[in-house]
């Protein structure tokens, strides 16, 4: 990343790239907090339901609905996180066969279709949520608006994340960087805490 920034110095887009990076990273940090809270809430709610039904023998009734809506918020907010982290992957084997510049252009332009999809999702999603204002959820007795809002809010966040990603894609040299999460495999290993970079396998490779 850093070396790339060096080579881009002086480019008129430099400011734009910095901005996209700041917004994307900032939004990611910001989103992780509610996503974490929602995922813990979802788990705790279902367990609470189990506890009350089977241990205390007095079912709560609202836990199923609450956990379901919390799950939707959690998952849809995560969709935006995954756009920024390139975790939504497609089939990359064909596009990679094309000349790099052609492939980059096609990917860039195809993203406008996704932007349009997200725009429809946001626009009609807000209308749907407004329309659901008077609807009352069956168990929680809350307005459906708060749950339906997950769709347009997520769509707007996705829009922002995708625009940031598309901006940064402009300066990315390697197609893999555009198409896949920074390094899916590395991420898997880091998260599992199983990095064995200096192990025997690597050693053999260098010989």
């Amino acid at each position: 990343m850093e070396s790339e920034q060096h080579s881009e110095r002086g480019s008129p887009f430099q400011g734009l790239f910095r901005l996209a990076e700041i917004i994307g990273t900032g939004l990611e940090r910001l989103l992780e907090v509610p996503v974490f809270i929602l995922s813990v809430t979802m788990t705790a709610t279902v367990l609470l339901g189990v506890l009350f039904r089977y241990v205390f023998r007095s079912p709560l009734g609202w836990t199923e609905e609450l956990s379901r809506y919390v799950m939707i918020w959690m998952a849809l907010l995560s969709v935006a996180l995954c756009i920024w982290r390139h975790e939504h992957v497609g089939v990359t084997m064909f596009i990679k066969k094309l000349p790099r510049l052609v492939a980059k252009t096609i990917i860039f332009l195809s993203n406008f279709l996704v932007l349009y999809f997200l725009y429809v999702l946001a626009l009609y999603g807000f209308r749907m949520a407004e329309g659901g204002k008077a609807q009352v959820s069956t168990a929680l007795h809350t307005s459906m608006k708060w749950w339906l809002m997950a769709v347009p809010v997520s769509a707007v966040l996705c829009l922002v994340m995708l625009v940031c990603k598309m901006t940064l894609d402009l300066r990315r040299k390697d197609l893999d960087e555009i198409l896949m999460s920074e390094d899916i495999i590395q991420a898997v290993k880091r998260e599992e805490g199983l990095d064995f970079d200096d192990g025997s396998v690597r050693g053999e490779n260098q010989e």
């Binding site: 379901r68 799950m71 990917i107 996704v114 999702l121 898997v188 396998v201």
Partner: protein, 429 residues
């Protein structure tokens, strides 16, 4: 119109657009093409309704339980246990790799986590003992597909939720096919080991050693028992059982092994949320496209087309298998399941297949895609761990793919393998 839908879909897939967005954009463009501006309000509605299912929540919970269990260091114990059981055979460590996947399958619902956890431990160990690196990686990647075949299984959750099939029934039906896959893989491993003279383990473990290793891994072996037992006895719904599995894994991590810290939960929960996000985008977007397909009566058209070629049950099923294996090679499993499920499931039931049986066939066939080039996810992870290229690994994994396809054929043409356990529990006629 059908041509427009198919054309848009294929082009978007070919240019590498993320599968979830391909489904959404294709659905949206088809709606516009049908001149139905007024139905655009359906887009967010379907998007929301697509994932508004309590049953689906079992999936994030199984991911969570698997991640937490893995973090507690249970994998080491499972590998040790497998090793005392089969380590003395020729190619013992490779056999232990496969057996460990069987045990690991009981705590994870996804194949990729199996590849990552077992592979990063056993591939280096196997290479050190004198196995070829590409063989070690191939064994790891191919045995990973046992993970989503033996319960719990994320794709069975999705299948059950969308096709209205009992998830408990699918879980039960998956056990024997999962063991069958393990058996055919072990057979091939034994043959290759003998031919290449892979090391023979030192000696047979004593009964005492086996018991000690069994005791060490008992907490992990209990997890599928809790999940299946809870669901089958009617105590829990699948989602509740999955949540209990999360609580159980946390209990094990915090109090039994004391290897889990509160700090670990942040990355684990976030990873679960992101994995869920990726799959839920696919499901949500697929239900938009699903609406279009239903409007255009595509499922009926495909069924009619297939039945016009032959009405013989087995010929139609063979066509379905070819289709599934082909589509699986290029498409994400969840997407293939949600798009093809509503088309193929009614057709299969119509020609006389039991819903549980066909569920297992579909899950198995799409699972094989995890280990086939060019885009098999387990292949990618195994390559990452062993630092091989896909090409290097592809050659070595080929015999294993053949074996698994044979297992798929056996499972397809011998319904009893899938249906024996569900029948035993009175879940199938």
């Amino acid at each position: 119109m059908t041509a427009f839908i198919a054309g848009t879909f294929v082009v978007l897939i070919l240019i590498g657009m993320p599968v979830g967005f391909v489904l959404g954009v294709t659905g949206l463009l088809s709606m516009l093409r049908m001149g139905l501006e007024s139905v655009l309000q359906l887009v967010p509605q379907r998007y929301f309704a697509g994932v508004d299912m309590f049953t689906l929540m079992a999936m994030p919970f199984f991911i969570l339980a698997g991640e937490i269990m893995n973090k507690t260091g249970i994998t080491t114990r499972l590998v040790k246990f497998s090793n005392v059981l089969v380590g003395h055979l020729q190619g013992g460590l490779a056999q232990a790799n496969i057996l460990a996947s069987v045990f690991f399958a009981g705590i994870t619902g996804a194949a990729v986590s199996d590849t990552a956890a077992i592979g990063s431990m056993l591939i280096p160990a196997m290479v050190e003992e004198g196995y070829d690196k590409d063989f070690s990686a191939a064994v790891t990647a191919s045995s990973s597909i046992i993970g989503p075949t033996i319960p719990p299984s994320n794709i069975m959750v999705i299948y059950g939720a969308f096709m209205q099939v009992s998830i408990a029934g699918l879980f039960l039906a998956g056990v024997l096919p999962g063991l069958l896959i393990a058996a055919v893989l072990m057979f091939m491993t034994a043959r290759i080991s003998k031919k290449r003279g892979y090391p023979v383990g030192e000696r047979r473990a004593t009964l005492k050693e086996i018991l000690v290793a069994f005791k060490d891994s008992l907490v992990a072996l209990l997890m599928p028992v809790i999940i299946l037992g809870g669901i089958l006895s009617g105590v829990f719904t699948p989602t509740e059982a999955a949540a209990v599995a999360v609580a159980y894994s946390m209990f094990v991590g915090f109090f039994v092994f004391k290897s889990l810290s509160v700090k670990d939960l942040w990355p684990i929960f976030l990873k679960m949320a992101r994995t869920t996000g990726v799959v839920f985008l696919v499901i949500s977007a697929a239900s938009i496209l699903g609406w279009v397909l239903t409007m255009e009566q595509i499922p009926e058209k495909v069924a009619a087309l297939m039945l016009s070629i032959s009405t013989n049950k087995w010929i139609v099923m063979s066509m379905i298998l070819v289709l599934l294996l082909f589509v699986g090679m290029f498409m994400d499993i969840a997407a293939a399941l949600i798009i093809l499920g509503p088309i193929l499931h009614p057709l299969a039931v119509d020609i006389g297949f039991h819903p549980l049986h066909f569920g297992i066939i579909m899950v198995l066939a799409l699972n094989i895609a995890l280990m086939t080039p060019p885009v098999g996810a387990c292949l990618f992870v195994a390559c990452g761990i062993s630092r091989l290229t896909i090409e290097q690994l592809s050659r070595e994994i080929f015999p294993f793919i053949i074996m698994v396809v044979i297992a798929l054929l056996i499972v397809t043409f011998v319904p009893g393998i899938s249906l024996f356990l569900p029948r035993l529990m009175g879940m199938a006629p």
